[in-house]
Amino acid sequence: MVARDLLNRLKEMLGPALLRVDTPADDRIFIHVERDAIRAVCRHVFRDLGARYVISIGADDRPFSGQYLVAHDFAFDAAHLLGSVVTHVPEGDPRLDSITPDVPAANWAERELRDLVGIEPVGHVEPKRLILPDGWPEGAHPLRKDVAWNFVPEGYDPERAFKFGEPPPGCTVVPFGPFHPTLDEPAHFRLYVEGEVVRGCEYRGFMVHRGIEKLAESVLSYNDIPMAAERICGICGCVHNVAYAQAVEEAAVLRAPPRAEYIRTIMLEIERLHSHLLWVGLACHILGFDTLFMQSFRIREPVMWIAEKISGNRKTYALCLIGGVRWDLTLELIAELRRVLDTLEAEWRAVIKAVLGDKNVQQRARGVGVADRSLVQELSLIGPVARAAGVPLDCRRDHPYAAYDRVEFEVVTHEGGDVWARIVVRMKEVLQSIEIIRQCLDKMEPGPIQLAITDELPVGRYGLSSVEAPRGESHHFVITGENHRPRRWRVRAPTYQNLQAVPAMIKDQQLADMTITLGSIDPCFSCTDRFEIVDLATSTTRVWSAEELARLARAGRR
């Protein structure tokens, strides 16, 4: 349905509880409701109307409206609609009904509200700490405007540990992480194992917080933030760079020139190429198949070289500014890019042909780490994880941005929802990306690459942007603000959503399959943990004290 239809339906349903609805475009809707109606509205939107949950955002709006702000973002993919249910929470009573009982996918986002803004989700199923370290004192909520960006808390308690739940009967505890050869970034999965079968899992993560959102609100400015956004992730940096720029452009009603849009599309697809090729290699490495790991990386290397020639760096392209891109593609570079794509396609087709017939790899990947359709819909999973279960979600087609409305491509899906399906989906998406880049190169016209911005950006406007990262939908929410910086910037990386499904995927699976299951969602913990406040030089080194780390890594010693 389009924004107007949804508006009308909600008007009928809610009457006076509906305070205000903004429909800045056919594909965007912002629904402001009374605090008490939030749960009913969300239940209607997510359950009755079947929207996909995206993220919940908490913001300290007290300097501007005197209240806190909570927004629950959702998407109607088939109708190309992105929206947000917004409510305000008074300063004296920062509590709100939790929507998690109706929308299980909101679990982490509401815990994050609780930790960072101090808004209590009443009725949440698992009200534990998510982001803040365990020893962090109560009452010091980093994202509040009265807390400085370099705040160091008093009364930090290094002895306080995370309360894990009880293991199911008959199970031993096998710690997976924070250090493990397959994990590039620290995360702790506490596995409850019976023999070689995993019976349960609990996750404690967010060890790589860096305070990017708080920095953006306090000390960076609009055109500085893309550089910071790019560093949220070690692989999909361009995605965050573009998504942020697009969100601000949407809020300020600016549109980048067409050539800039094509360049953004090309760089996003180049990033998808290198990410998927890396992932296939990594998955093979996890399975012990080092030869294919090396070969994937060898085939991938020319993509890194051409990215370096075009942008100046192999991975951090430093692509966007508000209103455009910073550098252009010359004719020589375009010719070289075409050559790279031709070679890549030929080699990758050979690899796909070989791997599709490989029973050895399939035996390790079929039936492993299954996330079927119902789990995908329940937890609002996205990206190749969803497409491998047969759910054709793809932001490039559902919520077109940059130049994706001008190119044709296929959304690759597979049935089964297991690791093998994800391998097939990612391998085939490489070929789709090559096609998209070729189409962009053909259709690109000469022209300006940066919009001339003549006025300061308007204040207090909302902007949403969903970009299809290699791992799934990356969603940015921006409220523009004073002093050339946003009031609030929320980043929802795809791994944030997909990680919540890992305990369900590894239940009743073999322990040996834990790594490949985790690897198959292509986890990017840095993307997930983009929050943190503490001055790194002093407090954080005390969080994971040596005994704590040693205990975690060697648990099992009686």
Binding site: N150, S221, Q295, R298, G312, L356, G357
Partner: protein, 175 residues
């Protein structure tokens, strides 16, 4: 049988490719022309507008006014992200993103570049810096007093200095 064929195909992919590893660092591996390496500051071209300092996302360029005539511009480079914004906004083209990427050193001072600029009769009004857009307005006009002793940027997250040539109500907030 298909599996055996697949395995042979996979091995042949590797065999046909040959050895691809480069002998770097035994042999040099120069980066491409557009590579964003260490920025080089040219003191002969720099006019001391501090546009680079204002647009460095990592806040690694400090400016300090010793007196009316002398302005010190110091590129620290510790957290430099090699984004190239400084080079983009410099009105005189005094900053070049070189191809140097082998910047590892045990002495942090090796990366620093310090420019001492004679400012003539400059009111430090900021008009010499041509802002590409309103988003790049100079945040701190007038005299600058970044903390050179501790290599720290002075933050003013509340607003701008407008029209006042001399700053005497500056609150120094250390990072």
């Amino acid at each position: 049988m298909t599996s055996l064929l697949s395995k042979i195909r996979e091995v042949m992919v590797g065999w046909n490719a040959g050895r691809v590893t480069l002998p770097y660092p035994a042999a040099p591996a120069p980066p491409p022309p557009r590579f964003r390496g260490r920025p080089i500051f040219d003191a002969t071209k720099c006019i001391g507008c501090a546009g680079c300092a204002n647009n460095c996302p990592a806040r690694e360029i400090l400016v300090y006014d010793v007196c009316q005539e002398i302005r010190i511009l110091k590129y620290l480079g510790r957290r430099c992200t090699y984004c190239g914004r400084c080079a983009d906004v410099c009105p005189e083209g005094a900053i070049t993103m070189s191809g140097e990427f082998e910047n590892a050193t045990p002495a942090i001072g090796d990366i620093e570049q310090r420019l001492e600029l004679f400012m003539s009769t400059c009111q430090r009004c900021g008009r010499c810096f041509t802002e590409p857009s309103p988003l790049e307005q100079l945040k701190l006009k007038g005299y600058r007093f970044d903390d050179l002793e501790h290599d720290r940027w002075v933050f003013r997250s509340q607003g701008y200095l407008e029209n006042s040539p001399v700053v005497d109500d500056l609150t120094i907030e250390l990072d």
